[in-house]
Amino acid sequence: MIQLRHVTLEYPGAAQAALDDINLHILKGEFVYLIGHSGAGKSSLMNLILKRETPSRGEVYLSGESLRKYRGGRVALHRRRIGMVFQDNLLLQNLSVFDNVAFALRVIGVPQREWAARVLSVLAQVGLESRQSALPRQLSLGEQQRVALARAVVSDPPLLLLDEPTGNLDPDTSGEIIRLVQSTNLRGTTVVFATHAREVVEQFRHRTLTLRRGKLVRDDPFGGYAL
């Protein structure tokens, strides 16, 4: 599903490459953790897959197609196949919880009559149906992360990118969220899950990729936390 070949990403003006010669293959339907200290390059890798960034060298492939030549409307189509939880949530502050989630459906042109059912169903899954009219700033950080997750899964994307989605959650809520992600994964969605929460990676074992200062230093098919 996702393939990286000799991918290097250098941000302009940065002394060191954020990602350095990464080779990687993630299969369709896999659940993969991406772990590493902060600054190791986890978000950068996600941004490459979303085509928010373009590699300085090397190629990123999705379903066998290189993303490099994608422009304009093609990028938009590409992103519609991906549900992403951003590290900084990126919720729209002037929209309610419901509207934030519905926004993902609106943007990709789902007819309005389908919104209510789909939005309420995912809000129920993340335990926030009672907060559907609240504004993001009226929610705790953990609740905001759950709204972001709801927005990422509401469109049933074939690929889910989660950038530290449990960073602000207590262990119990984390567990619920991971169960939700796992059940989405079992229905066929490929999941890439960036985290540095040891307990999560240890408790729900999946293939684990470890980044250290931009290099892929470990690819453990059976999982486990070893930084």
Binding site: R71, A76, R79, R80, F103, V107, I108, R151
Partner: protein, 287 residues
């Protein structure tokens, strides 16, 4: 669609000063354009009336060969028609034009010369033709509505030139106003726009409220212009008609309305295209 309209409304409100400035400059611009167009239309009507009357007269010497001269003159490419007016005819005409000046039979001898009267295909050639006539053997002097026609023509030209030049500058100014209104509006909502892009929104979807905003601004300002210009124009022509009844004023309401409809179209076009262009540029910069 409702969503896009609501977004447009938010953009307008969130950016009220810029929108108001755009609205004002566009209204002024379109009003000036309308005024210049109406003025030009009227001047042209007056002039085309004048132009039809422009006649060049060449007064001939006694010794001249009238028939040969007529042939020569008719062969000039600028000449539309030419005829001979004999001194007898001229005297008769004079008697009709100014009755009472001449008692019939009061003159022993007719003091008037024979003359050639020409009309031109294009009144602008009047000086060239006059010079050519003067050079002909047998022509004593040449007369035409000197000064009168020339001046009216050059006045029209300069009014048109200045007017449209000014309007062009102002249109550009309006366009820049729209560009910056849209830019400021999009910048204020940059987070939202970035999120839309990351979620896979197409450019057209992101652009729509801003293009709508531009169209609404263009429509609003041109409607205001039309609503001001129409009654103002007919009030003015009403006044002029009583003062100068001989002026061939443009008072056909249909023609004026058509002009104003064109103005509204132009307003919408400038508003829509300007904002479309600005929104596109902004989105392209993000990629």
């Amino acid at each position: 669609m409702m969503y896009q309209i609501r977004q447009m409304w938010l953009a307008l409100r969130g950016n009220f000063t810029a929108a108001l400035a755009t609205l004002t400059t566009m209204t002024l611009t379109l009003a000036l354009l309308g005024a210049v167009s109406l003025l030009t239309l009227n001047l042209e009507r007056t002039l085309s009336g004048l132009e039809k009357e422009v006649e060049v007269s060449a007064f001939l010497l006694e010794s001249a060969n009238d028939a040969t001269l007529l042939k020569t003159v008719q062969a000039l490419p600028q000449v539309a028609s030419a005829r001979i007016v004999t001194k007898g005819k001229a005297l008769e005409q004079l008697g009709q034009d100014l009755p009472g000046i001449l008692e019939p039979g009061s003159l022993e001898e007719n003091p008037l010369p024979d003359s050639l009267r020409l009309t031109l295909k294009n009144p602008r050639d009047v000086q060239v033709v006059a010079a050519q006539l003067k050079a002909l053997v047998g022509v004593e002097s040449v007369e035409y509505g000197e000064g009168y026609v020339d001046q009216a023509l050059s006045t029209l030209e300069s009014v048109r030139f200045l007017g449209y030049g000014l309007v062009l500058l102002l249109l550009l100014n309006s366009l820049f106003n729209i560009l910056s209104t849209v830019r400021v509006g999009m910048f204020a909502r940059r987070v939202e726009i970035e999120v839309m892009r990351l979620l896979g929104a197409r450019r057209g979807f992101i652009r729509a409220p801003y293009v709508l905003e531009g169209i609404v601004l263009g429509l609003l300002s041109s409607l205001i212009t039309a609503a001001l210009l129409y009654p103002a124009y007919f009030a003015l022509t009403g006044q002029l008609r009583t003062l100068l009844p001989s002026l061939p004023l443009l008072e056909d309401r249909r023609v004026v309305l058509e002009l104003l409809v064109g103005l509204v179209g132009l307003g919408v076009l400038v508003g829509g295209l300007g904002s479309w262009f600005a929104a596109n540029r902004y989105l392209r910069e993000l990629e």
